[in-house]
């Protein structure tokens, strides 16, 4: 089978026919539902709630939401399938991939792994179908990289729980039906299932973002929120709860980043082939070729790394530092690729008519969320040396 022109290493040959079918469906969904609109959503900094509902509904029909989970209406696909889906989503926009990551890998994963049977039955089928939207609240205004110091509290009042605190930078919060919120209790950090309609819950939107503008971000403000005793996730105590969810979502980012990178590479390749200066296409200049060759090289190695992690995940599971290596390498590489591609397009590179600034700006968020570049460096450093260097 002949490879696409940018796939010099025939990486496609490493995928099964069914994996390629999964990818084709997500690519088609993005072409139909996302690509015609995303530049506009981004420019306006507004992804209207009705659009989110529509997108999530369509993604639910496709089977994208919680696709790697088993049962409860989830598709039960493999890690590579999930990775390929993230690549296609992020090739369209990191914000759209974020929406799906948060729904599936953070909110649904937490419910699936740590929830009671009743909690799973109540939320998962509706979330898989895209009828309910979830968000995941860990970060607080004063506690980001160091969530162990969180101040959101849950105390018991009879059999009820009372929650107080503020979570911020929460993807999907303003459009969510349910928030999985992590709070300090006398018994360590616990997770709570908080329907956003509960009295005392507010989810204001965070505006003026200059990155991830086609994604809804907000706060989850909890004031004397009274929840029944069974709102707590019974399956986990301590930070390993939220951290294991983040590791799942991060795995998707390892793949997703290469989607943004691919779009940048293809955009630059096409532009360089048609733009003429000094009497010939700029693709004929050595300096441009050096850029294209290096972009391809970084994309191909990042894609191989993602695929390696995916195959390992399916067969053996992944250790956190393995995912950290992936996130560290691929997000940084994707950002570099987008910036380089931007230069190939000259002034047009900064125009909203091309996707490069959008992807590059988006990746600034991706570099920070789900553990900053520095945090993952420290994770890898500790794994190599045995010395924790966080404080």
């Amino acid at each position: 089978m002949p490879a696409a022109t940018h796939d010099l290493l025939d990486l496609d040959s490493l995928l099964t026919e069914d994996e390629r079918a999964v990818r084709a469906s997500v690519r088609q969904a993005c072409a139909d539902l996302v690509l015609p609109h995303v530049a506009g959503w981004y420019e306006n900094g507004d992804l209207p709630a009705a659009q989110v509902r529509e997108l999530v509904g369509e993604f639910g029909r496709l089977g994208l939401l919680g696709m790697h989970l088993e049962g409860y209406g989830c598709a039960g696909m493999g890690a590579v399938d999930y990775g390929l889906a993230c690549t296609e989503l992020e090739a369209a926009d990191s914000g759209i991939r974020s929406m799906v990551s948060v729904q599936g890998s953070l909110a649904m994963h937490a419910l699936h792994t740590f929830g009671s049977e009743e909690q799973r039955q109540e939320w998962l089928p509706a979330m898989a179908a895209g009828e309910r939207i979830g968000c995941f609240g860990l970060t607080e205004p004063d506690h980001g990289s160091d969530p162990a110091s969180m101040t959101t509290r849950a105390r018991q009042d009879g059999s009820d729980w009372i929650l107080d605190g503020t979570k911020t930078w929460i993807t999907n919060a303003p459009v969510a039906d349910v928030a999985v919120v992590w709070a300090r209790t006398d018994d360590g950090v616990r997770g709570f299932v908080v329907p956003t309609g509960t009295a005392g819950v507010q989810t204001p939107t965070i505006s003026h973002k200059l990155s991830l503008r086609a994604s809804v971000t907000g706060q989850v403000v909890l004031e004397q929120v009274r929840l029944p005793g069974d709102a707590v996730l019974p399956g986990v105590r301590g930070l390993k709860g939220p951290l294991s969810c983040l590791s799942e979502a991060r795995y998707g980012i390892v793949w997703g980043a290469m989607g943004a990178a691919r779009t940048a590479l293809l955009t630059a390749l096409e532009y360089a082939g048609t733009r003429e200066q000094f009497g010939r296409p700029i693709s004929g200049f050595q300096l441009t070729q050096a850029k294209l060759a290096r972009m391809h090289q970084a994309w191909a190695t990042g894609t191989l790394l993602a695929l390696h992690l995916g195959r390992r995940k399916d067969e053996h599971g992944l250790r956190p530092e393995q995912v950290s290596v992936g996130k560290l390498n691929n997000v940084t590489a994707a950002l570099e690729i987008c910036r380089t591609a931007r230069t190939v397009l000259g002034a047009n590179g900064i125009s909203g008519d091309y996707p490069l600034m959008r992807h590059a700006n988006n990746l600034e968020s991706v570099l920070t969320y789900e553990g900053t570049e520095e945090m993952h460096t420290l994770v890898v450093g500790q794994a190599l040396t045995g010395e924790p260097a966080y404080r």
């Binding site: 002949p2 089977g63 598709a75």
Partner: protein, 259 residues
């Protein structure tokens, strides 16, 4: 309602087309796929069965890789597949194609409706549906942009440039559908998983009782004697408006008898 959908495996129009030395399409050099126009037929069949009951069988005739077209249809939701595969088929023209497809449909048996695309995206003759109907002794209603089945009959809307016709036929019938009839779904993940377990039968000409003398390049009524790439498009003409732009445009149209 049991429906057979004829689906063709065609070279990807995005790829470079190539021909063999005997001027038949080179089906090995380019990736192939389910003819996009046949996706509409699959979608329509699925909608009919989902609204009522019955089974959708997809039928393809083509080389080994044509199994891809069956697989994609099964991933979309069809229940089972039949692939007619035989070395002797290579080079068959539409007369032979329709013979083989008709015999396969007879062998599938108990068919209420045969759906096809409007044309294949490679041969583009639009003649197979009519030939099939003739061979099967079924009424043919072609170019359906809307389709309803009830009480043993099928009613379609066929759009012409000036008007739309409503045509009715008794079942079983052969209907070809256009790309206006619906919006084909893409396979959901559940569909992709489920397709792995759906039955696909592969039949040779002997299974169908078709004589090899009636098929293949040798039996073709027509022969392609030469193929030539379309000449590259000429560059457009840029008119800079220096006050005379409108006139220049009018002149351009007049020169080509377009106005």
């Amino acid at each position: 309602m049991n429906i057979v959908v004829c689906v063709k495996y065609v070279p990807d129009a995005q790829g470079d087309r190539a021909f063999e030395a005997d001027h038949t399409t080179d089906r090995e050099a380019v990736d192939g796929l389910l003819s996009e126009l046949d996706e509409y037929a699959v979608e329509e069949a699925l909608k009919i069965v989902e609204a009522g009951e019955g089974e959708v069988t997809v039928l393809t005739m083509g080389p080994e890789d044509a199994a891809t077209a069956v697989k994609k249809s099964l991933q979309m939701g069809a229940d089972k597949g039949v692939h007619v595969l035989d070395d002797a088929i290579a080079g068959s023209d539409s007369v032979a194609t329709s013979l083989i497809l008709a015999e396969a449909i007879r062998k599938i048996g108990d068919v209420d409706l045969v759906l096809t695309g409007l044309a294949s995206t490679d041969g583009v003759m639009s003649v197979v549906p009519a030939m099939l109907a003739e061979r099967l002794g079924m009424p043919q209603v072609t170019f359906a942009s809307e389709l309803t089945v009830e009480d043993g009959s099928v009613t379609i809307r066929r759009d012409n440039e000036a008007f739309s016709e409503t045509v009715e036929a008794s079942l079983p019938a052969v209907v070809s559908v256009t790309d206006q009839i619906n919006e084909p779904r893409y396979p959901s993940f559940k569909g992709i998983m489920a397709a792995k377990k759906k039955p696909v039968e592969t039949w040779g000409l002997a299974d169908l009782g078709v004589d090899v003398a009636h098929v293949g390049l040798g039996a073709s009524w027509t022969m392609v004697t030469d193929t030539q790439a379309r000449p590259p498009r000429e560059a457009g003409q840029v008119v800079t408006d220096e006050g005379q732009g409108g006139e220049a445009l009018a002149q351009f149209l007049a020169d080509r008898r377009l106005a």
